[in-house]
Symmetry: C2
Subunit: 230 residues, 2 copies
């Protein structure tokens, strides 16, 4: 499983979602690298997260390529329109055998539409597009689409399940363990990577519910046996 | 709102989902008409539901067209492959001003594929296909996709939210009130009918989770203010 010897690089980590998971994992004792196009901005964001997480927290900032070179556990938290360009750029930097956890959602907002609607992605989902763009031998996992960035950046436990989809069972298990380190979260095996399309759609539904009802929506799955969360 | 003077006709009501909502609404004091292609089968199913719901329950069985003629509050619980043929057949029978609550999900099982995958529906969702097929002036509401038929047919309260989507605000409100009559269910306004596509996808996700984890999955939305459930 993940430990301090295997840092987590959060690519596009200066946005609210990236900062949110970084904060929660830093508090859980993980070593975090914030990745950004701009090294200085990455370092500034790392400083902010460290301030919130406490001085014992291990959070540094690097340019995205350097972050990929520094570890083999990558989390991608960029808007959909940034996903393909960034993965193409990082292809030479991503280490063989890396795990890429993708939280991208193809919201129509990426092309000037609504954040409560999605675009059709040829491959089926953003995560499957990512799988096509990473170097051979890199495992893609889809997860963390349905968490409120605002709540992640707060101090309270979350009231949300994280459904994890991947074609690599070991990478999925590691991701579920990472998810479960965020207080309040239960992680569930959601099957193959192709199922990511549904997780991504749920984000658009939650965005719509948030606008309509002025909330910070998340989801819980009910009716599964306790073993489902292991 | 719905009351005993406005019966609820459940078209395709002899299947497990139709029987389940019929049972719950019959227990709540609603007048239920089970619709089926076959009058005798409808009456037999009505008898079974009445037996479970108690003798004071008002449940009758009719052929689908007769059920449409008898009331203007219709619930459609058929497999996707049955939706378009049935609505085309019932077009002359559906009364002007009726409300059609559609729970159809375009699972790939309809064409021999998996129940954990969906088909693309040209109109965007099964509910939008229904809206195209009903007579003018009939309001379509999408709801009740994500409830376990097995749990509905049991005696315990459900642990599930029902997200209701429609372009007719009054029809949506009536549907939310009906949903809230099922013990344990909270109803949420999910916006326009076009959002039904996401509710339908969630069913495929739940089917996959049920197979993988041997459960009867449902969903709860978290993080919304209490007003969202009114």
């Amino acid at each position: 499983m993940s430990d301090a010897s295997r840092p987590i690089a959060i690519l596009g980590g200066t946005g609210p979602a990236g900062m949110g998971v970084a904060l929660r994992w830093a508090r859980a004792g993980e070593t975090i690298i914030i990745g950004s196009r701009d090294t200085l901005r990455a370092q500034e964001t790392a400083g902010k997260i460290k301030q919130k997480a406490g001085n014992q927290a291990s959070v540094s900032g690097m340019e995205n390529s350097a972050a990929c070179a520094a570890t083999d556990l990558l989390v991608l938290t960029v808007p959909f329109e940034g996903q393909a360009p960034l993965l193409k750029q990082l292809k030479p930097a991503i280490r063989p055998g890396s795990i890429l956890i993708d939280a991208t959602v193809a919201l129509a907002a990426s092309v000037g539409g609504r954040a409560s609607r999605t675009l059709g992605v040829w491959q089926g989902s953003s995560a499957q597009q990512a799988a096509e763009l990473v170097p051979k031998g890199v495992s893609v996992v889809a997860a963390f689409h349905n968490l409120s960035a605002e709540l992640l950046n707060g101090d309270n436990p979350l009231d949300c399940d994280v459904i994890v989809c991947s074609d690599d069972a070991n990478a999925a298990q590691l991701t579920r363990a990472l998810a479960a380190k965020i207080p309040g979260i239960r992680a569930i095996d959601g099957g193959k990577l192709e199922n990511a399309r549904i997780l991504e759609q749920i984000t658009a539904l939650l965005v719509g519910l948030n606008i309509r009802h002025k909330g910070h929506g998340g989801i819980r799955i009910t009716g599964l046996p306790p073993e489902a969360y292991k």
